[in-house]
């Protein structure tokens, strides 16, 4: 048992836990952070794109010493079939700015750096320490945690659950439901090492410029999911993920998909000659707004993936994790200044601040997207990519056929595969979900 009582105990040292612990320590709170991994980042998986804005609001000068791989100057959105891809690329010299907006990072290294900042701010971090249970008083308020170490009890005014997507501690305490297969994706990724110069030549980059490829299509075999390829300084991250319920339904395997993706003709040459040095798998919350659990109660609150804060449409997660962590930290410090207890009533301020932020606004905007993807997945991830690639093929091939005939062939190919009302219906449903 730890004799001292803390202002706050943070469970987890991922993006959200670090943001929260850092914010509180900087505002003068006494914080204990517990992480089950051997070191922060040892358990965490991300593509990984870092969105500067969320971190800047916590550590304004993070660019001075954070381990950043490359800033992104080019985004490639690919719709893929088994043999082709139709791409929309956006590259701009304006991304070569003083304070770039997006970077690739390697989570294991980034998390170590972030954690060092957190400890320098005054947080006490204990690794290889798993929180097994929340401690409560007679009236049910959370007053501390039990860990898997001997005499493993510690007390605090509030416990912040930053434990990631599975949320086992919260679940065991009955604060939330079990995560359902429909609301989480299982993603696998690999790190492939290549010399710097090869990456730069292959992707048309100079200096620290980087490229992102986001891909969807038949690569997920009709399942709801996406794939990605990101350039790091001396390596490439490549991965793919689909809803767990889809994996269950189809019997497809994540590594099977990744193997096929890596061998796709559009991808294979980008990885040629590389050496795979790391293999990871992780869940991603994809349920969106409707899957968000109760976020606070007497003596506890939830941040990051544990609160299902991921914007799957825009592939944003770590920034929502950091932002919810920061807002939670600020709220807790604000309550302390006002000498208000961490009761559910007082912590509703957290929810109010979240609602006013981009986090809730964005998630609310896309609240119907998960349902839409679920219902229209087969078309979105199978039929449409095929039709689009076929249309491009028809359009670009010069074969003596007149252009009007080609146009009508393309239109027919669409209406043949999916009735006009079906097409319009999908467009309408997407538009409504997107609104």
């Amino acid at each position: 048992m730890i004799e001292e009582k803390f202002d706050a105990i943070v469970v987890g040292a991922g993006a959200s836990g670090n943001a929260c612990a850092y914010t509180m320590a900087k505002l003068g709170l006494k914080v204990l952070q517990l992480e089950r991994g051997e070191y922060p980042g040892s358990k965490n998986v991300q593509g990984a794109i870092l969105y500067a804005d969320a971190l800047e609001k916590i550590i304004p000068d993070f660019r001075d010493d954070a381990p950043l791989e490359r800033h992104i100057v080019e985004q490639r959105q690919w719709t893929m079939t088994d043999s082709a891809h139709v791409g929309m690329h956006f590259r701009s010299e304006e991304f070569n700015e003083d304070r770039p907006n997006r970077y690739t990072i390697v989570r294991a290294q980034f998390d170590k750096w972030f954690s060092r900042k957190v400890r320098e701010a005054g947080v006490t971090l204990l690794c290889e320490t798993t929180v097994t249970e929340l401690l409560r008083n007679n009236s049910g308020a959370v007053i501390g945690v039990r860990t898997d170490r001997a005499d493993g009890v510690a007390f605090a005014n509030i416990v912040v659950l930053a434990e990631g997507v599975n949320g086992l501690v919260g679940q065991r305490a009955g604060l939330r439901d079990v995560v359902t297969p429909e609301s989480v994706a299982l993603a696998v990724k690999e790190m492939h090492f290549l010399p710097r110069e090869v990456i730069e030549e292959r992707f048309n980059l100079k200096g620290n410029e980087g490229v992102v490829i986001e891909a969807m299509g038949t690569i997920t075999k009709g399942m709801t999911g996406t794939a990605f390829l990101y350039t790091n300084a001396e390596s490439i991250s490549v991965g793919i993920g689909c809803l767990v319920s889809d994996f269950q339904g189809t019997g497809q395997t994540p590594y099977g998909l990744l193997e096929a993706f890596k061998n796709h003709p559009s991808i294979k040459s980008l990885l040629a000659g590389s050496e795979c040095k790391e293999y990871a798998a992780h869940l991603i919350p994809e349920g969106g707004y409707k899957a968000i659990p109760q976020l606070y109660g007497d003596g506890w609150l939830v941040v990051g993936d544990a609160g299902q804060f991921v914007n799957a449409v825009h592939r944003e997660g770590s920034n929502l994790a950091m932002t919810t962590g920061r807002i939670a930290g600020e709220t807790i410090a604000w309550l302390k200044v006002r000498r208000d207890a961490a009761t559910a009533a007082n912590l509703s301020e957290y929810q109010r601040r979240l609602d006013a932020s981009f986090v809730m606004k964005d998630l609310k905007k896309y609240k119907n997207i998960p349902d839409f993807l679920h219902k229209s997945g087969a078309h979105l991830f199978g039929l449409y990519p095929r039709l689009i690639a076929q249309a491009a093929q028809t359009w670009f091939r010069v074969d003596g056929k007149d252009k009007r005939a080609k146009e009508s062939e393309i239109i027919k190919s669409f209406t043949r595969s999916r009735s006009l009302s079906g097409l319009l219906g999908d467009a309408f449903k997407l538009a409504r979900a997107w609104r």
């Binding site: 048992m1 730890i2 204990l32 070191y39 290294q109 006490t124 971090l125 204990l126 290889e128 320490t129 860990t147 170490r149 001997a150 005499d151 493993g152 009890v153 510690a154 090492f193 010399p195 050496e275 040095k277």
Partner: protein, 279 residues
């Protein structure tokens, strides 16, 4: 009883990458760990402390980041950690290392109490020499017990210790007088998991940090690169070879085996002859 344990922070050899192009070891990003052999020494020290009372002091010589390993040792339950760090120590071979550690051990004894038992691991996974422990024993005039597999008895009144030592062809039961230096064999125990209070203490503890002068070292010429007669001529990644190991059907002894080898490797014979004739 006050017990000292010498440890080293080493790169995790399981995670070292060889640069695919330049064939050199890529140290960047390779995590560091406590030399695994040292953990057997630490656990044995903690057990003796639990049995007889007293304290365990861990000592490491290394760069400032070796602090991580010392904190980890505190997490396991060590009572005190001493970091010996100075740029004068950079490039130390086993001779210079045992010199610096011996000085620090003397200082530890003076500051925190005599250490009738000093532990080290059997060897390190990055140097593999197994020389530092015996080097310390020689310098400090300690009886040395290497490759110890079990500590049978410590007689504090009689100032003796009895241990089992793994040797070729069997186990020796050895008794000697304290103070001693013990190098522990691997697999002899399992490092414990410290309590939550241990982990908390480790995270917030202030470490003792000494430079060469603090440790009472005057003769800097015996430290670091200057004090290290060992010269590393070349570091390279061995090329994977096509040929596999083979069993030779030879009955009559070493000479025949050598002949067999030289038939297959004529260059080796020439090289050995050159070496033998001192050229």
């Amino acid at each position: 009883m006050h017990i000292a344990v010498c440890m080293k922070q080493v790169p995790d050899s399981a995670q070292i990458r060889v640069h695919p192009v330049t064939n050199t070891i890529m140290r960047q990003g390779v995590p560091t760990i406590i030399n695994p052999y040292d953990l057997f020494a630490l656990e044995e020290a903690l057990r003796l402390r639990d049995k007889f009372g007293g304290e365990v002091t861990v000592l490491t010589m290394g760069p400032p980041m070796a602090e991580d390993s010392l904190r980890k040792a505190l997490t396991f339950g060590a009572d005190r950690a001493v970091l010996l760090t100075d740029r004068f120590f950079a490039g130390s071979d086993t001779l210079a290392t045992s010199f610096a550690l011996s000085a620090a051990l003397e200082k530890i004894a003076a500051e925190f109490g005599e250490t009738p038992i000093v532990f080290t691991g059997k060897q390190t996974i990055d140097g593999d020499t197994a020389q530092v422990g015996p080097g310390i024993a020689k310098r400090l005039g300690l009886n040395q017990l290497t490759y110890v597999s079990r500590i049978a008895e410590v007689d504090q009144a009689g100032q003796t210790i009895t241990v089992e030592r793994r040797a070729e062809g069997g186990v020796q039961l050895l008794q000697t007088r304290l103070p001693v230096l013990i190098t522990m064999l691997e697999g002899t125990n399992e490092i414990r998991r410290g309590s939550l209070a241990d982990a908390y203490r480790a995270a917030s503890a202030k470490l003792v940090s000494w430079n060469a002068a603090d440790a009472g070292i005057v003769d800097l010429a015996k430290c670091g690169l200057r004090g290290s007669p060992t010269i590393v001529k070349k570091v390279f990644a061995p090329q994977a070879r096509a040929e596999a190991a083979r069993m030779l059907a030879v009955e009559d002894g070493a000479e025949a085996v050598m002949t067999e080898i030289f038939v297959r490797q004529p260059a080796l014979e020439a090289e050995l002859m050159r070496f033998a004739s001192g050229q």
